[in-house]
């Protein structure tokens, strides 16, 4: 195949950057190593708040229950006297008197209940979406400035007017969780006194439990309180009420009921969690991965970095090879029939296939150079049959230095702007990972699995320059067997069997039970089992892949110096405002080997398809859409090598039997036992079968770009109809996740059914069928934004400046957000905010505030660039639609002109051919876009970059970091002496 001309591009690799003040491994706080935490006292405080409906979401009224050992000691209400009217206060007072409730003001509640329970009594504070409620209680907030840096990037909330009392610190950890803790006030406390006497009690920072977080970790997702109560079948259920409505008896009943439901959810979650018998307390669980890590702790495994002191250049090498899953679109904007397949638990499967548990349980893991000729020979001779032999996979524990020469290797680059003229470039600095042809440039480290994948894709073996292989030595002596999920039936002995493999088998059993419950008509039981198996899936993935590459970003107020290490042993220093701190179970070798092997699995499937002359429409980490029809043949597709009977370009479609053969080939790689043992790890998804007859049916795919595709069938008139599996339609929502439902007021903002209409309309428009536009098409496109970092709050500086604290946009507040149309942006309107509102009709009628200059207006949409006083034109769903359907696949080229994919490109795409110009080192690819949900703004914040030094020392001309002029004081003095001598 003739390759397109290589394009010169700066490529990026993951960096191993060590901050100057990084704690020495094991990075668990060494000052407190061996210190114990007594856990909370029997006191618990459960509370909930109700707020105003303005963007400030100020506290109106709250309810609480104070319990001791589960027994209710006090129930009460609290309110903000500055927000409630006199009549409302009187209503609340009467209600409290009748119901026998304590009534307190916000200040009294903060001092006499909250801080007394959380700090003085060391009790557990419980809430649903707790950070939001804590922020409502606050009277001031500021960025965290704690010395230990772990909470940097979070908020410090002031709750009490007494300056000697604790503050509450909150920092977002992931989409559904936050670290919450109390600051330690000055003076002596009991823990301090214990240590003065020679004890080892850890400082107490309060105990906080968010039922949304724990429920999400145990049952999957981030359940609402209503959903959680349903899943846990609590006695009390959440009642319905309109937020912000008049305070009356019914509303106060609703508030009290919410508190009771929260308590019952916690009680049910506690009982379930206790059954797991994990050594980590429930208030330390922040995600599914936390449960997986707790299992590792229970096995008495010692973290990798506590046992191994690898040189920094080895860690830099490992990090350089790390890439995520492969997602690409090969056939763009052309409908093609096919079979949708995916790998069963791909990451846990390759973890088990490679036997990576040996690196977790080893006493030490060593790295040794190996003769490159051996690996070169393996690559020269390897075939797809070898890749399907389980014996190969445990030998993939090597990293190789490749001199690229037409190889298809993962490459992180700015594809979207590589072929754009400098003057036309948008400030989008996002990196994408593609798998282009690589030619020339400096050698780069890859996993051996990536090299084999390249060989399978191109037929040519990459040229290997150096090889490093990892070997696990010994076994940690303390490792003990554990009962998975607290069930004796799932006992795992990590000394003899694979922990991850057992977890997947356990999940399969739960799925089988779920199907049985569903068939038997036990809907609540089925929902609980489904949630459990989702949680187990995330736990397996998190433990096999997520936790080993856990790098927690830390924000710095002032730039901090880091040393960026390179695989050749060199390093450079650079100052950055955001650094990364490895998690406790950081073991990058495991993650890179898992991800690399996952890509190899996918490449093997692609190779088997191409050997049969077939093709695929898209792939997404563990799934593949193989172009196929019942009997095979050719399918029209621009750019294809074949031709249809009427002379159009076409590609070959496999028959379903051939696809079955491809699927069957993967049976050999099945590492599982029990009921899973006789299946292929590549499975044909349920979407391919008619739900009524169970017979395989012809489905088609329409892909726009990576992660933007829809699967459909045709009705009798040939019109497309999205395929349905269970109660879900198969279409992606990538790039649309932040938009709120535009149709009738939805009780649940996670209701994504409107996207079915979106895709249905898109398919019909694209395929040339008449389609009635959805009624909401010209409605303003409104997103939801949650304020989770001081940086987010700072964007509301202008809005907050003129308001008292209660009315200001505060941490964890959530708002509606609309983006001005281009002509409005041109006159300086950047972002409009309004109170969060589910009802689209009300959204349009609300007063929207320009975030940057506080002016208010109503929003409207317009197809022409016009200006109307008192209104601001914003982007509509139509605007998003038009942009979405033409979104180019940046990681591929147009086949007609081999230029970067255009919005109008259709057909079989061509991979890029890249020559690496320069190698940049970057940090975590955390997409801050999803954090802030402000598209087109703050583009520079998407990834941490560690730019290499470009300035040279005035004395010796060596590279110096940052803005320095001299590499050292000695060099400066020497140069100074030379100058003095010349003068003499």
């Amino acid at each position: 195949m003739l390759l397109p001309d290589p394009v010169e591009m700066d490529v990026a690799v993951r960096a191993w950057a060590v901050p100057d003040d990084a704690p020495k491994p094991p990075y668990a706080n060494t000052a407190q190593a061996g210190y114990k935490d007594l856990g909370p006292s029997p006191w618990t405080l459960t509370f909930d708040t109700e707020t105003t409906l303005d963007p400030g979401q100020a506290l109106r009224i709250g309810g609480y229950q104070l319990r001791h050992g589960g027994r209710r000691r006090e129930e009460g209400l609290f309110y903000d006297p500055d927000v409630l009217t006199t009549d409302e206060i009187a209503t609340v007072r009467d209600y409290a008197a009748v119901q026998g409730l304590k009534l307190r003001t916000r200040d009294q509640f903060a001092d006499d209940v909250f801080l007394k329970t959380a700090w003085d009594r060391r009790g557990l504070v419980i809430g649903h979406n707790l950070p939001f409620d804590l922020a409502r209680l606050s009277i001031a907030n500021a960025p965290c400035q704690s010395r230990d840096k772990s909470m940097r990037g979070g908020f410090s909330l002031t709750l009490s007017r007494d300056v000697h009392r604790s503050h509450v610190q909150i920092k977002k950890t992931n989409a559904g969780a936050a670290f919450i803790r109390l600051t330690i006030p000055s003076g002596i406390n009991p823990e301090h006194r214990n240590r003065q006497r020679g004890g080892k009690v850890r400082n107490h920072h309060g105990y906080f439990l968010d039922t949304a977080t724990l429920g999400g970790a145990m049952l999957g997702g981030r359940p609402s309180l209503k959903r959680l109560a349903e899943l846990l079948t609590t006695d009390a259920r959440k009642s319905a009420a309109e937020h912000g409505e008049e305070i009356n008896e019914r509303y106060l009943d609703y508030l009290r009921q919410d508190v009771q439901v929260t308590w019952e959810c916690w009680d049910a979650l506690r009982q379930r969690y206790d059954a797991y018998r994990l050594p980590v307390p429930s208030w330390r669980i922040h995600s599914e991965a936390s449960i997986g890590k707790a299992h590792l702790t229970k096995m008495q495994l010692t973290p990798f970095r506590a046992l191994n002191r690898w040189p920094d250049h080895v860690l830099a090498t490992v990090m350089e090879t790390y890439y995520g899953g492969r997602a690409e679109c090969l056939i763009r904007r052309v409908p093609v029939p096919g079979v949708y397949v995916d790998f069963t638990s791909q990451y846990p499967t390759v973890f088990a296939l490679q036997g990576l548990q040996r690196f977790l349980t080893a006493e030490r893991v060593e790295w040794a150079a190996e003769d490159p000729a051996k690996v070169q020979q393996l690559l020269d001779t390897i075939t797809v049959d070898d890749a399907l032999d389980p014996a190969l996979w445990p030998r993939l524990d090597a990293l190789v230095l490749v001199a690229p020469d037409g190889d298809r290797l993962p490459t992180r680059g700015r594809y979207a702007r590589a072929q754009t003229r400098r003057s036309d470039r948008k400030p989008n600095r996002a990196y994408n990972v593609g798998v282009p042809y690589r030619t020339g440039g400096a050698p780069q480290w890859y996993t051996l699995a990536d090299c084999i994948a390249s060989k399978l894709m191109t037929g040519n073996a990459p040229t290997i320059v150096a090889v490093g292989r990892f070997t696990a030595h010994g076994r940690q002596p303390e490792i003990t067997p554990i009962d998975m999920g607290g069930q004796a039936a799932y006992r795992v002995d990590p000394n003899t069997e694979d922990f991850i493999r057992r977890l997947v088998e356990q999940r399969d059993d739960v799925r089988a039970e779920h199907k049985k419950a569903k068939t038997a008509g036990d809907a609540p039981g089925a929902a609980t089992l489904d949630a459990m198996q989702q949680g187990m899936k995330c736990t397996a993935n998190g433990t096999a892949y997520g936790s080993p590459i856990e790098l927690n970003p830390i924000e710095h107020r002032k730039p901090a110096w880091v040393t960026v290490h390179q695989p050749d042993g060199g390093s450079y220093r650079v100052s950055v405002t955001r650094t990364e701190q490895p998690g406790r179970w950081f073991h990058p070798l495991i993650s890179t080997l898992v991800a690399g092997a996952g890509r190899l699995l996918l490449a093997t499937a692609m190779r088997l398809v191409s050997e049969l002359g077939g093709s695929y429409a898209f792939c997404d980490t563990d799934s593949l859409f193989i172009v196929a029809t019942g009997t095979g043949g050719v399918v029209s597709c621009p750019g294809g090598a074949h031709q249809t009977q009427d002379g159009a370009d076409a590609i070959k479609a496999l028959s379903w039997t051939q696809v079955d053969e491809v699927v069957e080939r993967f049976r050999a790689l099945n590492p599982y036992a029990g009921p899973m043992a006789d299946r292929s790890i590549l499975k044909i998804e349920d979407e391919n079968y008619n739900p009524n007859t169970g017979q395989q049916r012809e489905i088609e795919c329409y892909a726009i770009a990576a992660k933007r595709y829809g699967l459909f069938i045709r009705d009798l008139n040939g019109r497309p109809d999205l395929v349905q599996s269970g109660d879900k339609r198969k279409r992606s929502e990538h790039g649309l996740g932040h938009l709120l439902p535009p149709n009738a007021p939805s009780p649940d903002i996670s209701d994504r059914e409107w996207l079915d209409d979106w895709w249905q309309h898109l398919l019909r428009v694209e395929l040339g069928y008449p389609s009635e536009e959805p009624a909401w098409f010209d409605a303003p496109a409104v997103g939801r934004m949650t304020v989770t970092s001081p940086r987010d709050v700072a964007t509301f500086r202008a809005y907050n400046a003129t308001r008292r604290y209660a009315a200001q946009v505060k941490p964890w507040g959530f708002l509606s957000l609309a983006h001005p149309a281009p002509h409005e942006r041109a006159r300086g309107v950047r972002c409009l905010i309004a109170p969060f509102e589910r009802d689209p009709q009300r959204r349009a009628a609300m007063a929207w505030v320009d975030r940057d200059n506080s002016g208010t207006s109503q929003i409207r949409t317009s197809r022409t660039p016009d200006f109307i006083d008192g209104t601001t034109a914003v982007l509509s769903y139509r605007d998003y639609f038009e942009h979405y359907r033409q979104h180019p696949e940046s990681k591929a080229l147009d086949p007609t002109d081999t230029a970067a994919c255009h919005p109008w490109t259709r057909g079989l795409l061509v991979p890029w051919s890249v020559r690496a110009n320069d190698q940049r080192r970057v940090g975590k690819e955390s997409n801050r876009l999803s954090d802030t949900q402000l598209p087109t703004e703050e583009p520079d914040e998407q990834v941490i970059e560690y730019p290499a030094a470009t300035r040279r020392c005035r004395g010796c001309a060596s590279l110096v970091p940052g803005r320095r002029r001299w590499c050292s004081e000695r060099c400066r003095k020497r140069a100074s002496r030379v100058r003095s001598t010349h003068r003499l």
Partner: protein
């Protein structure tokens, strides 16, 4: 909130503080033969915890101590003899009295009387707690254990007349 409820609540808070100081949620005097578990009567840090009576014995002091029932400031002359451990528990309770009652800087006779009543109430509550305070929880635990071991109507199976 009744006096006893308030007393129990205050005592819970102080117990939590004591447990934190001792460094364990299940403190016990480490001297062989001594089963003292009241955190107010214990000192040291886990695992070297010892009760005040054992500590006094070790140091050659009497385990009987004089307790100012109404507080030293209210009535320096009137004392009652108590075992050291009980004395510590009562002293701790006095810390929860209103400060002006405990100190009584002006020598108010009514505050003196209040302090004396508080002192007696503390003694009575302590006696109740230490003497029979453990009984309800024990009975509840025993009932639970018998239900699990024998059945929900275990008294029928044991031929008890109930």
């Amino acid at each position: 909130v009744s006096y006893l409820e308030d007393w129990a609540e205050r005592r819970d808070e102080r117990r939590e503080q004591r447990l934190r100081q001792l460094g364990t949620r299940t403190p016990r005097c480490s001297r062989p033969g001594c089963n003292e578990t009241d955190p107010f009567a214990l000192t040291g840090v886990d695992p070297e915890i010892v009760c005040y009576e054992c500590q006094s014995e070790q140091r050659g002091r009497s385990i009987i101590e004089a307790h100012h029932l109404a507080g030293r400031h209210n009535d320096p002359a009137t004392t009652v003899d108590l075992l050291g451990n009980d004395h510590r528990a009562l002293n701790d309770l006095q810390c929860d009295w209103p400060r002006h009652v405990l100190r009584n800087p002006d020598g108010s006779p009514l505050l003196h009387a209040a302090a004396a009543v508080r002192g007696w109430l503390d003694v009575l509550a302590l006696v109740l707690e230490r003497a029979v305070g453990w009984v309800p929880e024990f009975l509840e635990w025993l009932d639970d254990a018998l239900r699990t071991a024998i059945g929900p109507r275990w008294w029928d199976d044991l031929s008890w007349e109930y």
